[in-house]
Amino acid sequence: MTATASRPGTGAQTPLPLDVEAIRADFPILGRTVRDGKRLVYLDSGATSQKPRQVLDAERWFYENVNAAPHRGAHQLAEEATGAYEEARATIGAFIGAPEREIVFTRNTTEAINLVAYALSNAATAKEPEFRTYAVGQGDEIVVTEMEHHADLVPWQQLCERTGATLRWLGLTDDGRLDLSDLATVVNERTKLVAVTQQSNILGTINPIAPIVERAHEVGALVLVDGAQSVPHQPVDVTELGADFLVFSGHKMLGPTGVGVLWGRYEVLDKLPPFLTGGSMIEVVRMEGSTFMPPPQRFEAGVPMTAQVIGLAAAVDYLQALGMDKVQAHEEAITGYALEKLAEIPGVTVIGPPDTVARGGAVSFTVEGIHPHDVGQVLDDLGIAVRVGHHCAWPVVRRYGVPATTRATFYVHTGYDDVDALADGIRAAQKFFGTV
């Protein structure tokens, strides 16, 4: 552990679970400077993560040695590309404790959620009776929470508009947690699906999934868990989770953009009609109509994002070599330190849980008298990249009565020095705008 990555202070230094300096050396982009020679302090992993060389190398390896369309053609490259693609599926499945056949590749979390939402409305008019199993229609209800990212809210609003179903939601408590007091009434015998985020992208809250799954399954509803902010940051096992769907994005977990994952319990996936249709998802095609492959192929129309899938498998290997328990512990230590440092600054208010209990490394805050855009601009001038705005969770900022927030998010390369830079930057903003 080097001095810069260790925790400063008067007491004993708490060593971080991960070797930050060694990890930073794996990320070429962290070696660049921004805004006239400043070290890049990247605190925006929650929007998209940076990529280690191992991931970049895996994509390059594929294009330089194997590139071909998988599941088509009989030449050697096609065979090898298919092998590499399916091997990657197995690696990514094992990462969340799922068999290969339950892993569907999508463009990102957003597309994975839309896939399920469209499958549920397509089900109503499917000609195959078994595809109508989970059809959503008039009188049915879909349940979300007030904490969802727009990607786990708007597709369900749209599903309800297409089908005549009703959208209901679980609210939030003042301290940034899900309010489950009315779970038993909001989730009822009319509920067809409950969609909930495992970790809020704006509040950092880690939600209790078990009671929601228990109630939903009691009334025969499906559960979709948005893992975009949890799968990259904590161990997630689909058997323990107990849900029916888990969705996440590759680009937020050190992987490439353009690949996301839909995990679904096989018996559920098997009864869903397709969303996108076309090549490679079909069984037999005649002019009069077509039949479809079983999952996961049924949901992977067209030539897939092969290189990205292979890059994502490399990201999974990278995270597993670090150990997801350690990744989580590391971020918890950083988050605790950040909450402490922010609490020391007058005028700074954290929006979300005030301590590290059931909380991940997304810290949103406001600075009295300075709009988040202006806070972000001063931080940017110092080389610190944060997110500002409503973070694609507009109802959340509205719920807490602020127009927007500044958000810092942490990952495996985040050290105490990054948090110190953030705290100094906030003070610089206060000085610049004359609020202190």
Partner: protein, 153 residues
């Protein structure tokens, strides 16, 4: 620090002491504009007197750039013919597309007065929308006001 190039003293003055702020009656048109990337919003009213902008009143929440921009705009357009006000808006748009080119700012100094201070903003693509929001609202509200009052620009 590069910050001073964006946050000119004039901008910070408008931000801290906005001109013409508050919604006033009477008005011929009211519009509500938002910046969907950050959630900033402005409600803006236009009152015409014939073809002249008699008053622009507004309320909004947003960053220093968006709030200062609407204040500087108020100074520039009230009392001008609508056509001239909208032309000034076009000049401001040109300034925002200048990528910080000082020659463009110099050329527009007479037309834009205080608002020429926003030249530094044009170097930051993410902030251009903040500066433009109120001008877009003005354009929209003026068109509605003209059609409501039967005038034409």
């Amino acid at each position: 620090m590069q910050l001073e190039s964006m946050y000119q003293e004039i901008i910070l003055d408008h931000y801290k002491n906005p001109h013409g702020r508050g919604l006033r009656d009477p008005f011929d048109a009211e519009v509500h504009h938002v910046n969907p990337t950050c959630g900033d919003e402005v409600t803006l009213r236009v009152k015409l007197d014939g073809d002249t902008v008699a008053d622009v009143s507004y309320e909004g929440m947003g960053c220093s750039i968006s709030q200062a921009s609407v204040s500087a705009m108020y100074d520039l357009v009230v009392g001008k013919p609508v056509t001239e006000a909208l032309e000034t808006g076009e000049h401001f748009m040109t300034l925002m597309q200048a990528k910080g080119d000082p020659a463009v700012a110099e050329k527009l100094e007479d037309e834009l007065e205080d608002a020429v201070a926003f030249a530094g903003v044009s170097k930051y693509p993410a902030r251009i929308k903040c500066a433009l929001m109120s001008w877009m609202a003005l354009k929209d509200a003026s068109a509605r006001a003209l059609s409501a009052t039967g005038g034409n620009a």
